[in-house]
């Protein structure tokens, strides 16, 4: 009898919820219509193509067209095994992980530090100039950046090498572009130069939301500048840092916050530095589009996607445990 009563109550509560939902939905109808178009785009360009993942498990040939993805024979894990046995497997995985973690380690803190430094600048003209010049490279395409890097870093009359030699910091030109050992450093520094300023905007926005009264109170209590940063600024933007960090980890294999692993390896990579520059994405690109091994390339990309999804869930879980803040 008691149970029946509970059930009745739950029906009423669902009805009330339904009514509230539609009421709210009608209220937000203008905004919801925007979301509707966003969802359509998301469905067609993000979810629908996912059925192509099937290719990784099939003997797919491009001449069979799109229908061939469904009709071709099953190949099981053949293409995954092929990749694990590829002669460059270890090299490619090492490069992908090394470049990604180096970027996370070095490039992630830079926008935060830059934002805090800019926040401390009191002359607004200087602040604006620094901010504009630091985020401007974000708008330059990687093709142009790679071209600039080739000209600036060349051993044959490159500006950087000329400068290093004239300052006595090097006795002969450094082969930035052709020595494989320099590739990881080149990738991290160019990505930082290009993207750090852009991400600074996010953190500056978070900083602007901090109540100035906190700083005033701390100043009255005798806190110095570093103490104010440590005890007020950083804890106040902790939530933003965590969200951005989780997003960066989700895209870790793509280069994290500063991204662009593919563009860099594709444009700055060459046969001389391939030992250090070949990564999962460039390898999949070459196998898929240059050699027409679509199933194989899909399998490689799928491995990368699985790692990325695991990382994003893992990072979110860890963040919730440690900081009580998470993305979802």
């Amino acid at each position: 009898m008691k149970l029946k009563k509970v059930e009745d109550n739950s029906h009423i509560s669902i009805d009330i919820h339904k009514q509230q939902f539609w009421k709210r939905f009608k209220k937000q109808i203008y905004l919801q219509s925007f979301v509707f178009f966003g969802l359509i785009v998301l469905f067609f360009f993000q979810y629908l193509p996912m059925f192509g993942i099937l290719m990784a498990f099939k003997e797919y040939s491009i001449t069979d067209g799109i229908a061939g993805i469904l009709t071709s024979e099953w190949a099981g894990l053949k293409y995954f095994k092929q990749f694990f046995n590829a002669y460059q497997f270890e090299q490619i995985v090492t490069n992908t992980l090394a470049i990604s973690f180096l970027k996370l380690f070095f490039a992630f803190p830079v926008p935060i530090i830059l934002a805090i430094m800019l926040n401390e600048v009191r002359i607004s003209a200087v602040k604006r100039i620094v901010q504009t010049t630091s985020y401007f490279p974000h708008f330059i395409s990687w093709v142009v950046v790679a071209g600039l890097a080739s000209v600036f870093l060349s051993t044959e009359q490159g500006v950087i090498n000329n400068l290093l030699i004239s300052l006595g910091l090097a006795d002969k030109p450094i082969a930035f572009l052709s020595n494989p050992d320099h590739f990881w450093g080149l990738a991290v520094t160019t990505a930082m130069w290009k993207e750090a300023g852009w991400w600074t905007i996010i953190f500056l926005a978070a900083l602007s939301g901090i109540n100035p009264a906190l700083y005033e109170a701390a100043q009255i209590d005798g806190a110095g500048r570093i103490q104010r940063i440590w005890h007020i600024t950083l804890p106040s933007i902790k939530g933003t840092i965590v969200v951005v960090l989780i997003l960066a980890i989700g895209n870790l294999l793509g280069g994290g916050l500063v991204g662009s692993n593919f563009e860099q390896s594709f444009l700055l990579g060459n046969s001389v530095n391939s030992d250090k520059s070949e990564i999962l994405q460039t390898y999949a690109f070459k196998m898929g589009l240059a050699q027409g091994r679509y199933s194989y390339a899909t399998a490689i990309d799928l491995i990368q996607s699985i790692i990325s999804v695991t990382l994003i869930f893992g990072a979110n879980w860890l963040s919730k445990k440690v900081t009580k803040t998470g993305l979802f």
Binding site: S33, Y87, T155, R293
Partner: protein, 537 residues
Amino acid sequence: MLKGELRRIISLMVLVMVALFVMAACSSDNTTSSSSNGEKTGEETTTNDSNTNDSNEVKELSIFVDHSFWPLTDWSGAVAEEITKRTGVKLKVQVASDGQQLPLMISSGDLPDLVFTSTNFQQMSNANISYSWDELIEKYNIKDFNIDPVARVLNQGEDGNLYSVKNGFTSREAFEATPAALGNVPALSYRTDIMEELGNPKLESLDDLENVLKLVKEKYPNMTPLVMAPNAIGQHFRVNFGASYIKGFQVVDGEVKYFLAQPEQYDYYMFMNKLYREGLISAENFTWSDQSQGKAKIINGEAFAINNLTDMATINKEIEASGKDFRITQLTKLVGPNPRISADSAGWSGTFITKKAKDPEAAIKFLQFMQSDEGQMLGLWGIEGEHWTMEKPIEEGGYPEFKYESQSAAAQKEIGSVWWGLLGDKGIYAQVQRYVPGTPQTEAMIDAKQYTKGNPLLGGIVLPVDSEYQIIKAELDNMVVNEETKIYLAETEAEASQAYENMMETAKNIGMDKLNEYANEQYKALEAELNKAKSGN
């Protein structure tokens, strides 16, 4: 009130959707009509042709050229117009922007009437995609379209049908019997002014060449002694050592093997490494992907010599245009210890008539003309009398005496010669086109002819699409690009030698021996088929 608002919103959304669909429909219409703007007559004619079969009207066939370097982006110039006059066919040209375009077109089924391709030759040799030539010859009762039995064996698809014939294939006998027929030779060109300043030292061996490069380095320390075009790296030297520069198959000790197994390759690699260790070539040369980077160094006066394809005339024109007063000239002799040019190609690119062709009859007749002697001379050389004259037949040593700069890319483009001739190129006429007496290029090619050895059966070895062997070969080709650079750039001779050993070991691990085994089987099968075709059974 809310109801009215909801209706308004829904109407708005429907309106936006309709607008989107209209826009999408317009854009797909544009793809077929945009390129024909201004060519309305041709487009209308095509429609009429397919319906009325009126032979007096010009029929327009679309062609996709799967070579991004193709310079002729439209059907214009005296040669193209003359071909149209004689065949009643004009082409609507689309040149590939990259190597991925054709595979995607095959996949989507969005194919033109004709496709000219090299890398996708096997994919196109498929009954679902292309018409077989025999089928069309029979269906439209085409007379006198004879296909060379050797070409048939070398080009047939996996199903045994012939869908196209690769161009540029010449039998060894025909090549030797035609005095003015010249094969390509990777060039080495150098600055004549600097050579004179050095006192014109002799250039009769690779050691001499090395010494000249050293002298340049000594006297002009800011100059790179030798640069190499990215698509021709080391090719000139490979030829000098008798090593193949094409990543195909070679006969080594009586067995068909992947080219890397040639012992001459080792000598070549060691020589290149020596050039690097002596500072005569730069490491950055191997990082270039832009084909014009080497050429730019020469034009800017930053390099002394260049190893590239045979475009000396074009570079000199560009030097002149940039206002510089120096010129380059090509080394006219192969000075290496064991020169050999492996002309094992069974041709390189073929024209296919796709299943989407509006008028397969017009297409096969067009190809028949392009393959005929008349079509070849017109397409490759130009219009007789207007662009060239010839005193005696080519079999007797004759060659076209051109009235335009026949080796200049700009002149070829202007009148449309050479390139359209390649659609049906049977080798000899293209080879004779290169003969221009008195030029260093011709001298170099005449010298190289004595070292040219060919075995088209090697070029005819085809690895089945998506097969294990094709994958091994692709992996090997990819591996060689990365590993050979380690040999070139090794700091000591011992390190270079070790890098070579490593490369060979990796090749074995990838499956080189398995590939060789399969290639041998294929070679023997081809040999048997060829003997059968020759004996007429």
